[in-house]
């Protein structure tokens, strides 16, 4: 039972394939006859995670209800809070926001003060996870300010706990996502640049994209197909290599997070009709018919540029390069074929290397200021690198 559960958890961090689910199911089968609730919950949670990460949301909800039933009899408060979170996320993924909200609000509520050991019940900090999902729900319900507060609270929870994995989750799924959904248009364009130029800036349909939604969903890993009128055609945008997650995790045509909510919202006619023209100064890009638009109640994008002492892109690239050096093995650069002409990305790297030789301009901005998307993204990168270093075998 414990061996199967451990196998499932280890596999879950690498891949979400049938044998990952089988490991949790084996643990559950062994735990049920002996009445071991802790391992029943672990087995159910792992099984639920496999369904959730592979986009099988309809199957995930019954399993969440089963988890909820077992957790109700648990002596540990953390199990009941985890059950609330699992229920809330299951409803959120099906687009049932009204049902998701009370579960997530309770899981993230002030009553959820638990010792550290109980908070990290299932790999991540429960409060962080709850606040992140609460932020998504609030944003979809049209409360961007509250959503951003919840996302920031997720980050604060993870920082308070000093748990890098949870912090990475809070930044990638909470703060960065919400910052993109509510914030920096310039960064949105930059982050979605390749996608934009491939699908909108060139070709037969120039400008038929909404940059805000496109960037947000692209950064979240997902976007819509051009001219799609069917919400089921939402497809992944992030490659498995880029995300560091195996292909099987991306085997589903639907998002593990946002597309179902968008699809549910779209299918339920919650979203406003696509606007024919969005914003001003964005080139008058039109939404394709049927694309999941941002809700009209959400505020327009902030247009205040991010100010850096020596220019945003230069600072950003310099710090990213420094981090890249940190995580890159020493021999990897030498393996590059020197005789071949440099690609554009390599030319940029070479330029960055020259830039990095200049004196460090210091921190990008004073701490405590309002979060800026680029800073959040930088922070995410830094934490991700730390996590990558920390999880290398033998480094502990």
């Amino acid at each position: 039972m414990k061996l199967y559960a451990a196998r499932g958890v280890c596999l879950l961090c690498q891949t979400v394939e049938p044998h990952t689910q089988a490991a949790f199911q084996n643990a559950l089968e062994l735990a049920e006859p002996v009445g071991n609730r802790a391992y029943q919950l672990l087995g159910l949670w792992g099984w639920w995670m496999c369904l959730y990460l592979n986009g099988r949301y309809a199957e995930a909800l019954p399993l969440a209800e089963r988890f909820n039933a077992v957790a109700a009899a648990s002596e540990w408060p953390c199990d009941r809070l985890a059950a609330d979170r699992v229920m809330g996320i299951s409803h959120l993924l099906l687009g049932k926001l009204d049902k998701a909200l009370p579960y997530l609000a309770h899981a993230a509520g002030p009553s959820a003060k638990l010792p550290r050991a109980q908070r990290i019940r299932f790999l991540y900090d429960e409060r962080t996870l709850s606040h992140v999902s609460l932020a998504h729900t609030l944003w979809f319900l049209g409360h961007p300010d509250q959503a951003m507060l919840a996302a920031r609270q997720a980050r604060a929870d993870a920082q308070e706990l000093d748990h890098p994995v949870s912090l990475c989750y809070a930044l990638s799924e909470g703060v960065c996502t919400l910052a993109l959904l509510t914030g920096d248009e310039a960064l949105c364009r930059r982050r979605s640049g390749p996608w934009w130029s491939r699908h909108a800036g060139t070709g037969s349909r120039p400008g038929r994209r909404e940059p805000r939604c496109g960037a947000a969903f692209s950064t979240c890993g997902w976007a819509t197909k051009p001219r799609s009128t069917d919400a089921s055609t939402l497809r992944p945008r992030t490659s498995a290599r880029r995300s560091g997650i195996s292909h099987s995790r991306h085997s589903s045509r639907q998002s593990p997070r946002h597309s179902p909510a968008a699809a549910g919202l779209y299918g339920g006619a919650r979203l406003h009709q696509p606007r024919s023209r969005v914003g001003d100064g964005d080139g008058g890009h039109k939404l394709p018919a049927g694309a999941p638009a941002c809700q009209g109640r959400n505020p327009p994008l902030r247009r205040k540029p991010v100010r850096h002492p020596c220019g945003p892109s230069r600072c950003w690239r310099r710090r990213a390069l420094r981090l890249a050096k940190l995580v890159t093995s020493p021999g990897s650069c030498a393996a590059l074929p020197r005789s071949q002409p440099l690609r554009s990305s390599q030319r940029r790297t070479a330029q960055d290397a020259r830039v990095s030789a200049r004196p460090d301009p210091g921190p990008l901005s004073p701490k405590g200021e309002e979060l800026r998307t680029s800073e959040a993204a930088y922070e995410l990168l830094e934490v991700a690198c730390c996590c990558r270093l920390a999880t290398r075998p033998g480094t502990a």
Binding site: M1, K2, L3, Y4, A6, R7, V9, C10, L11, C13, Q14, N26, L30, A38, W76, C78, P115, R116, A117, Q118, I120, R121, V165, A390, T391, P393, G394, A396
Partner: protein, 80 residues
Amino acid sequence: MPADARTGIGAAAFAPHLADLRAAVAWGFSPEGESDVAIALTVASIPLSMQLALLEETLARVDQALARLERTPAHAASAG
């Protein structure tokens, strides 16, 4: 060693013994060793290994333990 992560014992207290643990498990699974001891050690070390995020190493040990248990059906029901 804690059998459940919720007991809250920190990994730092046990981390210095990782080398001993690895050596003991390797010996237990070797032809000269006792696989029962190795399996018990593997199970007991799961919370520590998880806290230290030694996932690949844990997975290898767990798979080895499960493979041994499959060869000894009497133990298979417990699987730890």
